[in-house]
């Protein structure tokens, strides 16, 4: 497999999650007979590991496939190919029933605090449902656990009987976090958990997530387009572009010494809240190409300021250009 080299990238601590060569190709169906006319290569061979108590940031622009990776790991969408190991066991081809015990180990927090909670269930029922589903607790016992979860995420126990719309955006996100915590998972996939929140509320939720990580030893796959947030919360970062990881390294390395031209441009495009800093920006030309017909060779060559002929014809593999820094670029 071409991605064999990528599997060598290991977290520093024992891995909670390992994925190798993960692929998700959505068929494009057209016409009356719904024949398949090609595929959207949403995720095209992604590999990484997440260690115990570690936060891996997965960054990239819309349509790069970062959310698809998160959903494919949880098998909320069925991956096309690859290996997904939870605690050493491959779960990609398990049946729904076989998968159920693994659901206790990994949970998800969503972006939109409004549509991620069932509007017709009380907050207490939403948080308690995982407990009943897995037969962990019911009745009074369930209520006690839910009350403790409410304390844990900074909600008042008195609000357990309230319905989602009676909460503010930040509080609703806390309910979503409490639901994810109910099963006591090792790994939480955070899919843009603060993007829909106001600036002053973002800080509250980020702090909560970091407190939980410290106290409970949680691992996060932190999916976000916001580099400042990712820098704050994660230890290692993977940068995605059009379904592939283009750079994968420790946070400090990525931010101080980016290896891939795309990472470099992405970092330079983030507006810095300090008018005294006038940086020379690398403004990328053009739009992100469609994942239906990605460019040949290196996907980034159409926008890359340094592209040479080789980039147009040959796909670069992820290589270790410096200790623990993996970059997919011919020029490094």
């Amino acid at each position: 497999m071409a991605e064999a080299g990528q599997a060598a990238v290991r977290a520093t601590r024992p891995p909670v999650l390992e994925i190798e060569g993960l692929k998700k190709h959505f068929p494009i169906k057209k016409g009356f007979l719904r024949r398949t006319h090609g595929h959207v290569l949403a995720v095209d061979g992604v590999s990484f590991t997440i260690g115990e108590g570690e936060a891996l940031g997965l960054v990239g622009e819309s349509g790069c496939g970062k959310s698809t990776v998160g959903r494919a790991i949880l098998r909320l969408i069925e991956p096309t190919d690859g290996v997904i190991r939870i605690g050493g066991e491959d779960i990609r081809e398990l049946s729904k029933r076989e998968l159920k015990p693994f659901r206790r180990q990994m949970q998800i927090i969503f972006q939109d605090p409004y549509s991620s909670l069932n509007p017709r269930m009380s907050a207490g029922d939403i948080v308690g449902e995982p407990l009943s589903t897995h037969g962990i607790a019911s009745g009074r016992k369930r209520e006690e656990i839910v009350a403790k979860l409410f304390d844990r995420v900074g909600l008042s126990r008195a609000q357990m009987a309230n319905f989602p719309h009676q909460f503010s955006g930040g509080q609703r996100q806390r309910i979503g976090i409490a639901r994810a915590l109910a099963l006591n998972p090792k790994l939480i996939i955070c899919d843009e958990p603060v993007s829909a929140l106001d600036v002053s509320i973002q800080a509250q939720v980020i702090n909560l997530l970091m407190d939980l990580q410290r106290d409970l030893g949680l691992s996060y796959l932190f999916i976000s387009h916001n580099l400042s947030v990712v820098e704050h919360i994660s230890q290692r970062i993977a940068v995605m572009y059009l379904g592939r990881i283009v750079e994968y390294a420790d946070k400090t390395t990525i931010f101080t010494n980016p290896g891939h031209p795309y990472t470099e441009a992405l970092l330079s495009a983030v507006p810095v809240p300090d008018p005294k800093i006038k940086r020379s920006k690398i403004v990328l030309q053009g739009d992100v190409p469609s994942p239906v017909k990605p460019p040949s060779g290196c996907h980034f060559h159409t926008r890359c300021p340094y592209a040479v002929d080789r980039c147009r014809s040959e796909t670069p593999l992820l290589r270790e250009i410096a200790p623990r820094q993996f970059v997919a670029c011919h020029l490094r």
């Binding site: 106001d198 600036v199 702090n207 820098e231 931010f255 495009a269 507006p271 809240p273 008018p275 992100v288």
Partner: protein, 365 residues
Amino acid sequence: MSHSRALQAKPSAAAGGQAKPIDSIAGIAVADPLLTVADLKTYFFTRNGTAKAVDGVSFAIARGETLAIVGESGCGKSMTALSLMRLVADPPGRIVDGEVVLDGVDLLKLPEDEMRAMRGRDISMIFQEPMTSLNPVMTIGRQIGEVLTMHKTMPRDELQKKVVEMLALVRIPEPAQRAKEYPHQLSGGMRQRAMIAMALACSPKVLLADEPTTALDVTIQAQILELIADLQRKLGTAVVLITHDLGVVAEMAQRVIVMYAGRKVEEASAEDLFAGPLHPYTQGLMASIPRLGLMRGESAKTERLQEIPGIVPALYSLPQGCVFAPRCPRADDKCRSEFPPYEEKHSRHWAACWHAGEGKERAHG
């Protein structure tokens, strides 16, 4: 000239409300204002009560300047822009008081047909979501052409030429081809460029940009911000940039207004504001955002972000006294009972706070 006219018109409006000294009206912040907004009040009258979406906001902007209005959702920043355009949905909203003087003309006193003539020609606006602001069944070229023909008559071929020229100006590749395409055929960034072309087609004096890059990816955002700044230099347009992103503010604006719950709480030059915010809300906002310290050579440390406790109050039931008091670490009894006056605390740095400036060292890290 426009300045003096704005001030002459003032007493009549001030007579009804609490008499504010004219000096404290924002016109003073700018020597020769192009646009002066004085004591603007836009209220929403609903079954649940009156929401003061914009409550006595004043500011001014000079030719070619960029003024940023910052705040969180519901602070009234978008409603301020819509009020300047007189596009507030009525009912339930209504501009109940104030003046908006553009080059000597009070927009709020114009009859509707004259205001319509001003829109697009003298003052225009771009929105956050370019898809919903463009007509899906008209080509990009026709939509830009429509703006042009609305304000002056020109022969067909000249119009066509001007449209292509505008698309080229906003750096849309193959402009002649793109003019024949429909909005859904363009990417988000291209649509925002087309919106900008439409807004600038008649070279307006003022451009109101309401979260113009919020829906875009960061590399596309960089393109659009660069384009706006570039066109502003070329055309001398004054830009009112409405955003929640302090990073965008720092990169684009010369002066900044901070709004909270319908009121202006602080105003200063961008440098002064970022160097030493006076209002506790501004301080809280700045301390609550993660700052990409690694890129600036800071060591990797994971400290807690500073939080602003609580949530933004509902505009129907604002607290007595200072609207920020319930969330403010420095609030005392005076804050909870009396609304703080809007004063010049330092040279050319205004804030509405009884405790302005206290503890600013803490906020800046």
